[in-house]
Amino acid sequence: MEDVERPFPPGHYDVVVVGSGPGGLQTSHCLSQLGVDHAVISQDEAPGGMFRRFPIFERLISWTKPDAPVERGSREYEWYDHNSLLGDPGTGALTPEFMDRSFDVPSRAEMEAALVAFTERAGVQVRYGCRWSGTRQDGDAFALETDHGEYRCRFAVFAIGVTQPWTPPIRGSELATHYVGTRPASNYRDKRVVIIGKRNSAFEVGNGLLPWARELVLVSPRPVQLELLPHSPLRLRYLQPYEEYVRGGAGTYVVNAAIQQIERADGGLRVVAEGTTWPGRLEFDADEVILATGFEAPLGDLRELGVATVLNDRIPALSPFFESLSAPGLFFAGNITAGSRGIRKHGVGPNSTSVNGFRYNARVLAEHLAERLGIERPRPRLERDDLVPFLLRELSRAPELWIQKTFLGRVVSVSEDGLRDEGIVPLEHFLDAGGGDAVCAAVEMNPRTAIYPALYVRRGGRITEHELPWHPVHAFEGHQYAQDVEAILAPLLRS
């Protein structure tokens, strides 16, 4: 009887989305907008995914500016709001509505409330309490086993988060607590705490424990690379433990060392480590050891279906359209889309681990799935005189290009039929998939962290790269840029 009231009973759908975190919700919303038949199932009882529990110390790391020079809810506003899902008027830009503005970033609870509101207002349907437990390939189709029955689909999209605690092979790691088991900060009062890791979660915990712990040591093999911070997922706001250490503050240490083992000693724990940027060995006595060593995707049986992984076997290796590189038909959404690495020009990867980036990946994925299912999306015609201003506007203000630098681009095709706006496309796909004459506009960052616009022109099957100068306030719409772009496009438009 309950099944009658619940959406998406077991059965056949073109697409089945697993997960009700921001990745699943965004994918479902985009699929609905394109008219793609799909079901959404989730083992949770409510929307929100990881934001129902994390981050531990309750503060997100990506900003939302409730007031901005552009209208809230507009496409341009997305560049000021890195935490809201993409919706229609009334359903997008919801996060600032829930922020009390005590910080420039939302709290976990505010983020969760915004996701719940999005689900309600955008009408995203989810079959909650439905746990995916197994996967089977059956010809061109997939069968997903759940505790509610079997779902069959042509394409499966797993928006299951990178949520399973990951522990490196360290001897004695069972004596430590993973980040997910971190208790309220007051529990660490007057304790010696060793945190293994130097990425976001390590510094988040370190920052949270500073007022409570007696001694704090952050240790991992990799140094904090200050010069690379703009490229790094590590956020400056958490760096207070590092600042204390480099200024010689007492009781806080940030050490570059490989962990040899964790052992019991003197009624507590001891971490034995060997220097990576200095010769020698150190032993740290601790009351608590926290493994801030990150997470992996809970892939279940997907490896057995041939899903290859990357980044030390933590997440699936994905195509530019977020399909498994080794198991066609299996797609991923949400922060797992970090497995699609892009061209990594100058070593810069996409922002796919956070909502600001993967919300655009979800839209690209939905459009790709729609095409694979035979649903054509509109490709609006562009007038010749509008092309240069259009590209410069995109380069200056398109949030997709600014957030997913060197990863997503705006493509305009050129043919006898005229100019067509092909929308937002993975840059790697544009460069490698071939096709007719076209131009792709992308925003990039060089090793000196200067942000600059770039155009890639495909003419007669050959690609040429054109990097334009950077500008101190990113104003790429001036006369000189227009002249430069005209000159770059002239051969394309003549042919």
């Binding site: 490989a258 290796a317 590189l325 070593g347 060089n446 090793p447």
Partner: protein, 141 residues
């Protein structure tokens, strides 16, 4: 179950290029640089496109293509991308995965500090380059 899954540090330890490094140094490299995976046929470096890095092959094979012609094939322990990085020029060849390919990627801007920090790796790279040069010279004569 965890232990049967491939560990990047173990994979790096098997490469001749890193034969002189300590376990701690290998861990430092594994934490500092990312592993990248490519499907057969997927491109890694593109002719004329700047910003590439140095790639060390962990598993699989890559092929070098100039004007559509396959000119070389590299396997585990070998590397590519170094010419573009060292000369600061875009590559004059396409590099694509000949099989499913797993590499360690060192972004271009980090190659010099990396080689200076690990001179034994630089020495072994020079040996590889010398072998390649010898092969090229033999081929021409």
């Amino acid at each position: 179950m965890e232990q049967s899954r491939p560990d990047i540090v173990e994979s790096l330890a098997r490469l001749t290029l890193f034969a002189d490094l300590t376990q701690a140094q290998l861990e430092s490299i594994a934490h500092r640089f990312d592993e990248e995976v490519f499907a057969e046929g997927q491109r890694i470096l593109r002719t004329g496109l700047s910003g590439g890095g140095l790639y060390l092959i962990i598993d699989g094979e890559a092929l070098i293509r100039i004007n559509g012609q396959v000119r070389a094939r590299f396997g585990p322990g070998e590397f590519f991308g170094e010419i573009g990085v060292l000369l600061g020029e875009p590559p004059n060849a396409d590099v694509e995965a000949a099989t499913f390919l797993r590499c360690l990627e060192i972004p271009g801007a980090e190659v010099e500090p990396f080689l200076v920090e690990f001179p034994r790796v630089m020495y072994r790279m020079l040996q590889s380059e010398a072998r390649r040069l010898r092969t090229t010279t033999e081929w021409k004569t």
